[in-house]
Symmetry: D2
Subunit: 283 residues, 4 copies
């Protein structure tokens, strides 16, 4: 039986859940999961709901839901969970996040269609990775050619109907223009526990500061570098005995885990934007 | 504005949320929090809901909700969150959990009325603890007097209108009879990561086995020792260098944390029973 | 400059470290790392030491160290860290641990020579994995052929000079005979937090019991199933909402991490046996 | 049998451990614990060693060790572990860290003599805490009287032979002068995961930024605020549903744990300074 996912946010007021469930009920809906959050501070309401429709009338449901959404001033999405999201993976020299995402995709842990693997490095950089039919696109960055490279990237994103771009340790900074175009649909994995150690070589910064934990952060990309809405973070204990190279090694595991959790939550419609923060309805 | 908490579980079917929110809406209800769980395996539905009532008609709400609850075959509770729950604390020689619970009660982290501190040890065992007006009851366990001691305990529980009994490292095993009377309203903190190391001296068992993590478990007490529904667990890394005494010391921190989280969740109506397991709607 | 690793255990008495460092000093040794443990309970002493030798005279060092080791009744090993250990990987249908170990080997995180990948399933089971020249050996298990299959496995272990066998989710139980032959040099990853949930389908057992954390355990294989010395363990938080399939998915990450840490520690001479327990000198 | 602790750091060169253990051996020393660290980057060597002396000649050991320490250019300390360190506790309005430290002191988990509890708030602020004979000193901070208040504090530190000052959520900034006098012997617990969220109201900063983990940091106090050498840190997972007040509550547990671990490690001679970082030989 097909499952559908509804996410919405709107100004908080009485009767939202009753109205939403009313529409569902009239279409033979059965709610499998529902999570909500009232942001009292900003009096804004967030809902994620997974449901089936006995009569399968998803279009009919959408038709009736639209006007209700307008009345409540909702930002909303409703989709068939059976249709995989279209995701593009960008990587550079380090392929640990890319390899991990591909493995989880293969096992079905990440339910998505990968529209392309894009890199500023050539295919042989990943010669040990089996892309299993996923198109590989080499977009090198020649000096002064960034605008052209991003134009090629953007046209590929559009041509492939890509819904989400994942920067899987893609070590190039997106221009404000491209970051703007991808607002809310581009996830980056940053190899530090933001807001600590922004910018370059965070593990070396962490070692120099002598912190006892290192971390990684998955966040939406914005024009304001390393300041985008945080989706997921985790940390690992380190000590005086660890060199910067050790931190890089230990960090690879944190990065893999944090990016995979963020991506899985996005694919599962669990992440809603709330200004410069996120609401993440974790499983 | 007073807040109310509704919890329910019932056989899963369509329209539950819509019906519940319908009653709420008719009484000017505004939902602040709602969490639900569909146990597909057993097709049973669980809901926790926190709400305000514009017209403050809590009794009227209950009157209308009752028949609906019957129709759906609900086990349900609805209460005014402003009224503190009545909790009795039982302890023995080790007072780390007792001291911790009392501290969290004092800071308001645990919103409850403590009906009594009961121990099989005399008051001077806790001479460094300020009970701050809480009655202390010494119920020693003379050989062959267990039935009498439990009778005295039970009458105290009834006389004080105690809703929950917390075994805060109370090192006496309750009789099947008393465990039965307290079914679903008696929480124990066990100093192991159940189901590992049941029974006596779990830290010594853990040391003998050479595990690399030790843990603690908060669970509802049942006649079947150490087999009650698990509410909360946590673990801490240990190593070859730790003696059984070290494990006891490290374990005290885990026990405190795990018991405090379980108790806070219970006071916040977040724990529902699901057969011999629990549904815990964590904050 | 070549680095050497010395590990030893012996009855505790005065002067061990002084005697050991004396030999090192006479050979121009410089200690880079040293960790020791006194098992007071059993009055046994454990040492791991990493050092360089100015004069590079490793054989001369060994020649002088031998008699001293005899005097102290030491179990000891000393080796050139530059020579990779020879490791055989065994897997079955699930390849997440195998894929992870191979990835870490490729990045240099696991410094070893893989003598073979052995499976009771055919090569095409792993068609997406690049073995990069590592011999693959298919040893199917026909009914009644276990002895023959293990004989083939053992001859391959001997022929390849394999020092360590890693059961990377190899779902066959070794015979007591083979387990005995591999005593202290065969590591298994068990998908539960031992000693909980021994035997089959541990994640289903964990779900049935309603635990709030699941775990994995890396241990040395012994004839006594799931009772071997524990090397490494870790846990992850789960909840009522997780199905057995979710636990299997979440568990894959724990298994990968725990096995990789155990294997890396073994390759780095950090694991010493202490009866049915381990001393692990973590980095 | 009395136990002694030796800690030292010096320029790295050959023969340090052999020389140290040689002196020990000549005095009938038996090493119970030893941990070392070679800071290759700065070619500096660190050692912590716990030992007994058969002949009990601690003074004789010190007399012989002194010249050797000079030869190697060692910073060193050697002390009888049976003699409790003298520690002064400073607190302000929030007493969760103070109460926790006092509890751990009472149970023997923190082996020390508390020379005084000092606060800028009056005794009744802590009326529920049993100081059990520890002198309480009220040092209020009248406008423009900071120098006088710190002078009174300093004279109390000197008069009581206080070796370590613990800022247990003492919400006053020490002057550069006092911070300088207490260099290396004043530990502060900061309620954020430094270097994130320095300065005031870190939990509110964390909430505003939308981080998914909050933390606490124990560090040595220096004139450079929140920049002192980090001793210990830990983090806890939080989410969109947590208000700043929730973060404050959750943070109390992290602060307690982190401060207690740092203090216990200091009392156990496990913390050595390495420039603006620390070497922590954890148990």
């Amino acid at each position: 039986m097909p499952e559908y996912a509804l996410t919405l946010s709107c100004p908080d007021r009485r009767g939202i859940v009753n109205a939403v469930t009313g529409v569902l009920l009239r279409h033979g809906g059965n709610i499998l999961e529902a999570q909500q959050f009232d942001d009292v501070e900003n009096s804004r309401f967030f809902l994620r709901c997974v449901f089936t429709l006995a009569d399968g009338g998803f279009d009919a449901f959408r038709d009736e839901f639209g006007p209700l959404a307008r009345d409540f001033g909702m930002d909303w999405t409703a989709r068939d969970r059976g249709v995989p999201r279209r995701v593009m993976l960008l990587a550079s020299k380090f392929d640990h996040c890319l390899a991990d995402v591909l493995y989880r995709w293969r096992t079905g842990e990440l339910h998505m269609d990968v529209t392309a693997v894009v890199s500023n490095h050539p295919r042989e950089t990943y010669r040990h990775l089996d892309f299993d039919g996923i198109p590989f696109v080499h977009l090198p960055l020649a000096r002064g050619q960034k605008a052209a490279q991003e134009a090629a990237l953007w046209s590929r994103i559009e041509a492939t109907g890509t819904e989400l771009v994942v920067l899987a340790r893609y070590m190039q900074i997106l221009s404000d223009d491209l970051a703007g175009k991808l607002a809310g649909r581009c996830i980056n994995i940053h190899h530090s526990f933001l807001p600590s150690f922004k910018g370059a070589r965070p593990y070396h910064q962490a070692h120099a500061r002598g912190v006892k934990l290192i971390g990684a952060t998955a966040h939406f990309v914005t024009a304001d570098l390393d300041e985008g809405p945080i989706i997921e973070q985790d940390t690992q204990r380190v000590g005086h005995q660890h060199t910067p190279d050790d931190l890089v090694r230990i960090g690879r595991d944190i990065e893999r885990q944090v990016l995979a959790r963020a991506l899985r939550n996005w694919l599962d419609d669990r992440i809603l934007l709330n200004g410069h923060r996120t609401v993440v309805f974790t499983a």
